[in-house]
Symmetry: C2
């Protein structure tokens, strides 16, 4: 038999979750192996546990038969690998059935969720209750898992944008099947369990983010009270060189708390690809888009080489003062600083044309540009950014978008730079040069993720149905990732295909290997994911493997 261990494991997994929740038909498996770039890792089966207890049992089975598993919450890890495991031959542990919202407090502003709870589900939950709390949403699919994104340390656009900073109280199933709870949740009935991050003794949450040390089956997410008043702002730079001054001008406002949210600066390519597909006709089919045609689209869409957006949250007076400070900071550095709130949006919907006549401001244009992020800045999940994954496709995005299925090519590289203009300029120049040289449009966004850092997201968007493009994109991505590492702009997150960047010699990878070997002696949980494979216990693991096999044959 090709997979003797797998067959035994599948039999036991079926006992645990029921045959309806074990998938092994070829079509489903091939679909799960597809993401937005070329991968080779195969998935021999999909198992869908419904509870923490079932996850524990599934891991015990995996250990018993040494069959590696790869957990996904919703599998919407777009641009980084979707559902595809970091190594070959992993059974997918699909946690999407665990979709309960377990606890909620309006007063203390939190919600406790299982891995299958999506952004849309939480948004609907809050709306239905008439809650005055806002969630933070990523620009990824509304079907994206809250736990999945937080554990990848993803980010959104509100003051709670740095997701991993706004969670606590994890329930984690360890690789061998034991379960723990982190922070104060480790103590029964701790009153501050959903409220305090560090707990007592070593703080372990970080261990379970971007790792393969455990499966998070519960998490508390902190929510933000709806502000009395919300106002979005928008500005643009007239020339590429203005980026530097703008970043430096905004930094003091972020550091002193005037700007509290993860504001956003997108280049022209990023905005254009959010608003339309590749101009195949205008370019006569040539790629990449650049030069005069790029300038033409800038003019047509009334955007600059860099386009900033963000939001102010507070009372009317707090927002008014923030507006004054923002105006003062950007004076002479950015142009067309505009502010937008719900009232203006309502007016605009009715009076866009006359408004333009009076004010000279083409509100409809601005709205089209702002729309993708206006909702996100209020924590409203949207699938609008998903459309940009169809950028290079020759056909329009379908009503029900699925970039994995539709052959949309997308690789995200996400280096982090100091919140400093010179660094922002250097990093984006570097990325633009590499992408253009490889024939891709450098769609770049800079998110002022924390007071001191900018997360730069470089999109390599292409059409997987064009022969050779997967390979060209991979080469480009590799060069970009390595160039960024070389210049000290390390990524905050990796695609499944680039986990090799974590391997290496030295005491740090040795420590990770050692922790992995301790927690997962059989290396059955998501092998290769962010953590280099264990090695210290290799010999004893092999011996133990031998004895397990002996038991099995007996």
């Amino acid at each position: 038999m090709a997979f003797p261990d797998l067959q035994m494991a599948l039999r036991e997994w079926t006992d645990v979750v029921g045959s309806a929740h074990v998938t092994s038909d070829a079509e489903s498996l091939r679909a799960a192996e597809r993401c937005t770039f070329g991968t080779e890792n195969r998935i021999p089966a999909i198992v869908r546990p419904a509870s923490r207890e079932q996850v524990q049992e599934c891991l015990r089975v995996a250990n018993r038969w040494q069959t590696p598993v790869y957990p996904v919450s919703s599998g919407k890890n777009w641009g980084y690998g979707s559902r595809v495991p970091a190594s070959d031959g992993c059974v997918l542990l699909d946690l999407s059935r665990m979709n309960r919202i377990l606890d909620f407090s309006e007063e203390l502003a939190y919600v406790t969720v299982e891995p299958g709870v999506t952004q849309e589900q939480l948004y609907t939950f809050l709306k239905e209750r008439g809650s005055r709390l806002w969630m933070d949403a990523t620009g990824a699919s509304p079907q994206c898992s809250l736990i999945g994104n937080a554990m990848e340390r993803g980010f959104g656009h509100t003051p709670y944008g740095d997701h991993f900073a706004y969670i606590c109280g994890l329930e984690v199933v360890l690789p061998e099947g034991d379960a723990i709870e982190t922070g104060f949740a480790r103590f029964a009935d701790s009153k501050a369990a959903p409220l305090y991050k560090w707990g007592l003794g070593p703080a372990l949450d970080g261990l379970f983010s971007q790792s393969n040390f455990g499966i998070v089956t519960r998490m508390t997410v902190w929510l933000m009270p709806e502000p009395e008043y919300f106002q979005a702002y928008y500005f643009r730079c007239e020339s590429e060189g203005d980026l530097r001054a703008v970043v430096d001008a905004l930094r003091p406002l972020r550091l002193n708390g005037t700007i509290r949210s993860a504001s956003h600066i997108a280049n022209d390519y990023k905005v254009i690809s959010a608003l339309r597909q590749y101009p195949w006709r205008e370019t006569d089919g040539r790629t990449p888009l650049q030069g005069d045609l790029l300038k033409h689209f800038r003019r047509e869409m009334k955007i600059g080489p860099w386009n900033g957006s963000g939001a102010l949250y507070g009372t009317k007076a707090q927002v008014r003062e923030a507006r004054r400070l923002l105006r003062r900071a950007l004076a002479g550095k950015a142009s067309r600083l505009q502010f937008l709130d719900d009232r203006m949006l309502r007016i605009a919907a009715r009076f866009a044309k006359p408004y333009q006549m009076i004010s000279g401001w083409n509100l409809e244009r601005t709205l089209a540009v702002l729309k993708p992020v206006y909702g996100l800045m209020r924590g409203v999940p949207t699938d609008h950014p998903l459309a940009s994954t169809y950028w290079r496709k020759r056909t329009s995005p379908p009503a029900k978008m699925d970039p994995d299925r539709d052959g949309c090519g997308l690789l995200w590289c996400s280096p982090v730079a100091p919140n400093d203009g010179a660094h922002a300029e250097r990093l984006t120049d570097l990325a633009a040069e590499i992408l253009l040289r490889h024939g891709f449009e450098p769609a770049i966004s800079l998110t002022v993720l924390t007071e001191r850092t900018i997360a730069c997201i470089v999109s390599i968007a292409y059409d997987r149905d064009v022969a050779g493009e997967d390979g060209r994109a991979r080469t480009c991505y590799k060069e970009l990732l390595e160039a960024c590492f070389r210049e000290g702009y390390h990524s905050y997150r990796l695609a499944v295909s680039s986990m090799y960047a974590m391997v290496g010699e030295g005491t740090y990878p040795d420590l990770l290997r050692s922790l992995k070997a301790t927690l997962d002696p059989w290396n059955i949980l998501a092998p290769g994911r962010y953590v280099p494979d264990g090695r210290f216990h290799t010999v004893s693991a092999q011996t133990a493997a031998g004895s397990a096999r002996a038991v099995r044959t007996a």
Copy 2:
């Protein structure tokens, strides 16, 4: 010989650090074994390495001769055990010679320090440079180590009050002597190493706080830009029952970012003990202070049963709006809400008396009450709170205070409660009842440490020179700690004498033991500190111990 291993180790440590930096005279050792409560753990020697390399060598020696060591940065862990190790027979590894400030950025607002760098040293460093950055300081000694406090997850009073939340990029020497760097600092020349908390892959910082998994030899501390305007506020509750309403009134302002700092509510005992010593004369030597005499002091000091303080930071307009919101929130719930800034302080110094005549406000009184925290709210270290450790002494605090030396009794119990009035009331009632029953004044402060939690510090202050008091204080502390745990108010931090609260059965302590056994197979680093002793590798460790002994004898 009593300590054969120790003698061999001492010889090698002396080779590493030089004989001037190894202390074994009885007087020094007995002094180091003294803290502000009764302890029995003995310290056989003190070794003072001067560099990370020496720390590494010291740990290798400790492993070779299986001699446990206990690192202290400055040893000012007042109320929790000062320099005293968590278990008997540990050699003190005193890191105070490592006191360099290694990196500093005014623009990106951070400083990188070694363990010996004290609050006062950083404060002076910033002043000398004319920096516009503020540090956050704890109320403990100005001689307190920044790293020591952050790794204990201590807190201060500014918006950067939750110390562990505002650090990154640790350099850690692991128990067997290897060194790692955390976050992006693991990569050479990473531009965001001092700026971004999580790095890439599992985030390990939490592992090294409140633990014995490594010795932190370098850390970056984020600093806060000096606000354009700073204003402190002060209020009091007229009756004990008002605490509940006040906490609930302040919560929304903390949650929505109007109050950005860790504000403070202290009870009458706390304020009185900060301003004077025990009224031995007025009480005719009876303890505890309560009843009419307590009310007398309230009237005399113009304080309430609960007294709030905090600060507003921002532009003039931002502070004005925060003031309006604070006034509105506290209306009818607290009385005598007063605001104070530097200008008023200057005026007060000159015109206190006429000012009182005009305004009816006894500014001098207010200043006396506010003074201990006014500076702290601006990140100015102070030894003022140290005087309160002399509360029950019969003699005045000396010019050069040293509570360890002077027999000041102090035990801090630090349960965390939800930021919720009912919980604040329940927890403080519980603490007050227990302390009074044991004959101690329940000096209590509530710090709104984060948006969702209150850290409650209960002081048991006594005179160690009174026979039997150590024992009574210990009994009281134990009852308090256990009652708080039972009711779900778990401590954010433990005294060295109460680490037993971390031991126990279950998968969580098992996980800690397993990590400990992996990182420190000989259990030589700070055994018993927050982490129960390793057990999974017991057998192999003993075998290995046997072979090490064989090597040694050979």
